[in-house]
């Protein structure tokens, strides 16, 4: 069901139905807590696009699309990666370490930092795949447990050995300006992180549509045994897919560190919940990369609108998180409502 054997039209119908049903259910929650659902939704919609809303939505889309694609790459091949948080942290830390301590000139440092993040995030996810393949520990569980370990480990490292004592916060030193990713390219409102994410997203989409890899992954996601009979080496494929999924998460960590936060602060990468929003966007899109990009930009807009709603009405912005979860549940419940008799 995750990888979805539906055709494009019924997939679109399913997505729109889920969103509509979630809006109604979310409206009930809002109404029960004594607020007016119509004005809440109006504020969310306005906040997402008006004023600085559009810029913020675009900025938030970069990490969210990345984490959603990380989830989608795995889902497409039948793997559920719940360890995106850990892979993002390990990737972000690797990027910060290289950008801070590797003695090479600025721009090369940024490139190497990105490469280090991709490798570190990928290897961290690959480790979980190895546990599934050799010891029968489900990837879903192993990747999640690794996340908790990464959280404790990075938290310890930035609080003690890597800490910048000059700030009162648990964080590393600031990355030198030469090794950062520019926030504007040619004075345009386009950041380097955005450009990188667009390029990566295009590669993922093209590979999915016309690459041999993409075809084999999709086949495995739909029917692993069939894929194996057709000559796909499932073990190698699982390792590769897990690595790429983790590499994507690691890249997101690096883009956030080098392009936005400029240092590794304990908790800062995970606070916005990109991993879980991304996972929900990928599930909603039934793991199709193009649809995943659309749904994750939609979720980014929803979240930005939520913050604006919180400022205007004083209701918790986490309401948009509730809406995202309701959308997924309505999607999963849809077959029950529309079953063929």
């Amino acid at each position: 069901m995750i990888a979805g054997a539906l055709d494009t039209k019924s997939r679109l119908a399913a997505i729109l139905f889920s969103i509509a049903a979630a809006v109604v259910l979310g409206g009930l929650v809002v109404g029960l807590t004594g607020a007016n659902p119509v004005s809440v939704y109006l504020e969310i919609a306005k906040g997402a696009v008006l004023g600085r809303g559009l810029d913020e939505t675009l900025a938030r889309s970069v990490p969210l699309v990345g984490m959603a694609l990380a989830a989608a790459i795995a889902l497409r091949a039948g793997l559920v990666n719940l360890g995106g948080d850990g892979q993002m942290l390990i990737g972000g830390l690797a990027a910060a370490l290289v950008a801070l301590y590797l003695p090479v000139p600025g721009a090369a440092r940024a490139v190497l930092a990105l490469a280090a993040a991709i490798c570190a995030g990928g290897l961290y996810a690959w480790l979980a795949a190895i546990l599934q393949l050799n010891l029968g520990i489900p990837f879903l569980i192993a990747s999640l447990l690794f996340s908790y370990i990464a959280r404790g480990l990075t938290s310890y490292l930035v609080r003690y050995p890597l800490r910048d004592p000059a700030t009162g916060m648990p964080e590393t030193y600031r990355v030198a300006s030469g090794a950062r990713l520019p926030a504007h390219i040619f004075d345009l409102p386009v950041s380097m992180a955005m450009v990188i994410m667009v390029v990566v997203a295009v590669v993922v989409v093209v590979n999915d549509r016309s690459g041999v890899n993409g075809f084999e992954w999709r086949m495995t996601g739909l029917n692993a045994r069939f894929a194996q009979y057709s000559g796909v080496d499932l073990s190698r494929q699982t390792q590769r897919v897990a690595f790429l999924s983790g590499a994507m998460a690691g890249l997101v960590g690096a883009l956030l560190i080098l392009g936005q936060q400029y240092r590794f602060t304990d908790g800062a990468l995970l606070a916005p919940g990109y991993t879980w929003s991304g996972l929900m966007a990928a599930v909603l899109a039934m793991a199709s990369p193009i649809a995943t990009i659309v749904t994750s930009v939609f979720f980014a807009a929803l979240q930005v609108g939520g913050f604006s709603m919180e400022r205007a009405l004083g209701l918790p912005a986490v309401l948009t998180w509730v809406l995202q979860a309701l959308i997924i549940l309505c999607l999963a419940a849809r077959p029950i409502l529309f079953r063929k008799r």
């Binding site: 069901m1 998180w321 979860a325």
Partner: protein, 297 residues
């Protein structure tokens, strides 16, 4: 000293044990339940919210059980009945629980982070001051009713699963649903009932988490315990006694971690301990299974 540690272990393992029992029943019925984390969180929230409203611990536990059972119904209806993917529903429920409890915390109580209220009191403990210093016995006495209920449930489920016709039917449904259906068992009705019952158990787990040792609700206070319960089901092979043992190990890791924290070890390191130990236990089990396999070949 040893008594205090053991007593702490028994307190810490209880929410995980209750949730793992829920997971085990679902596993036996053939429903992969990864929503334990979210359901426990809902149970904890409802227990504290009810305490604030009515000030009664008994009512708090009952409403936690009831509301969590209702919260589990999407998994019961969607996952067990018709074609819904239990993993997707489980992920959805976990995230809904995290979002909804945080939202309601702000929208109803105007609080972010932690809800403490004088009307929220911890569940009463059965203390026997005279026996508190007797080794082992002193540690076993002096807990609240939910701790003892969790032990009772381990025995009850053990008998239910392996000594009663209903348990046999349940295991049959989980292992070969088509055969069970041919024997006349209503597979989806059984699964629905079990998932809802498991929801109620997670409500108990949440109530114990919020009202057992502490008396408060904090955002995402389950902090992965529901996932540890999922792993405990795997480690214990969905056998109540095996699971109890796995949970005991987890409680020990948690309690020792807390002790070491008191000795000055950074809590970031001790926080890892339960997850690292569960992972190592899974790896150990996996290696043993692999060895057996290569021997038999």
């Amino acid at each position: 000293m040893l008594n205090m540690l053991l007593s702490q272990v028994l307190d810490l393992m209880t929410p995980v044990l209750l949730a793992a029992m829920a997971g085990a029943l679902c596993e036996r019925a053939g429903v992969f339940n990864i929503a334990l984390e979210g359901k426990m969180l809902v149970g904890a929230f409802v227990a504290v919210a009810t305490s604030v409203a009515f000030g009664s611990p008994v009512l708090a536990v009952l409403s936690a059980v009831l509301c969590t059972a209702i919260f589990a119904s999407p998994l019961a209806l969607g996952g067990a009945r018709l074609g819904g993917d239990p993993i997707v529903i489980g992920i959805g429920l976990n995230l809904l629980a995290s979002g909804l409890t945080t939202y309601l915390l702000g929208a109803i109580f105007g609080v972010t982070g932690t809800l403490v209220d004088p009307s929220v009191t911890a569940l009463p403990r059965f203390g026997f001051a005279a026996l508190a210093d007797v080794p082992v016995l002193g540690a076993i006495l002096g807990h609240n009713a939910l701790v003892y209920l969790s032990w009772l449930l381990v025995l009850v489920f053990n008998i239910y699963l392996f000594r009663t016709p209903w348990g046999l039917r349940l295991r049959g449904i989980g292992e070969v649903p088509s055969a069970a259906a041919a024997m006349g068992a209503n597979v989806s009705r059984y699964q629905t009932a079990i998932v809802i019952l498991a929801g109620g158990l997670c409500g108990l787990a949440g109530a114990q988490l919020a009202l057992g040792s502490v008396a408060l609700f904090a955002e995402n206070m389950t902090a992965g315990r529901g996932w540890i319960a999922v792993v405990a089901v795997m480690l214990g092979r969905a056998h109540p006694l095996g699971i109890a043992l796995a949970c005991l190990g987890f409680g020990l890791a948690d309690a020792v971690g807390l002790r070491l924290q008191g000795q000055g070890l950074p809590n970031q390191i001790t926080d890892i301990a339960p997850y690292a130990i569960t992972l190592l236990a899974m790896i150990g089990l996996g290696l043993r299974v692999m060895k057996k396999k290569t021997k038999s070949v």
